[in-house]
Point group: C2
Chain length 132, copies 2
Amino acid sequence: MIVGTEWLIEAFGCDPAKLREIDALKSVFDKAVTGLGLKVLGAPQWHKFGGEGGVTGLTMLTESHLACHTYPEYGTATFNLYCCRSRPEWDWESNLRDLVGATSVSVTRIQRGEDPNSAIRNPKSQAVGGEN
Amino acid sequence: MIVGTEWLIEAFGCDPAKLREIDALKSVFDKAVTGLGLKVLGAPQWHKFGGEGGVTGLTMLTESHLACHTYPEYGTATFNLYCCRSRPEWDWESNLRDLVGATSVSVTRIQRGEDPNSAIRNPKSQAVGGEN
């Protein structure tokens, strides 16, 4: 039984200054929430790590959650959007280009809650896009 | 550049009553945090949906985040653990069996921050374990 869809997004070549600005990342969350008609639950949490460090953001949604972690030292940001109701695809690529200066964006969609015994594409333990 | 590791965990055949108890899910988070030597940042967020609904939990970590969503109507719970520093594997299977009565557990490990142009196993858009 599929209980939700999760999008894992990696943004590369971003402007390191934007990846240290909570407001820039908040604008990504706000635009996704508005664009997809999501509903925020409670207070979003944001943390800026010290010095040249990046930002972590977590927002609870009626539909599940939205998360981001940024790595200004590599120009990389990662996002998770988990939705337990069907949502259309969002244009992460153009939004992340506009809002944090990404030069390339990868989007991976994963169905959550599949029984590992019923789908050959979801074995018990699986590494995706990894080194092993 | 791999910036972190994310574990996506699906637990099946769980006790529906446990999936409606914030305390049962908190005990999973607490045990993972202690077992893996993680550091909680700020206040963990928990929400119990009304009536027969499930629970959502989000905890910000120095190492990234921990999330869960439960679906008592299906006996299913899903967890995400995202760590930006190397951590050993945690025994999700026996812990989820003990704490929420899971009868089977699937763990998928994903490397975050890989450049989609440099790895054939991480194409620009990819559905894993899904229907399309």
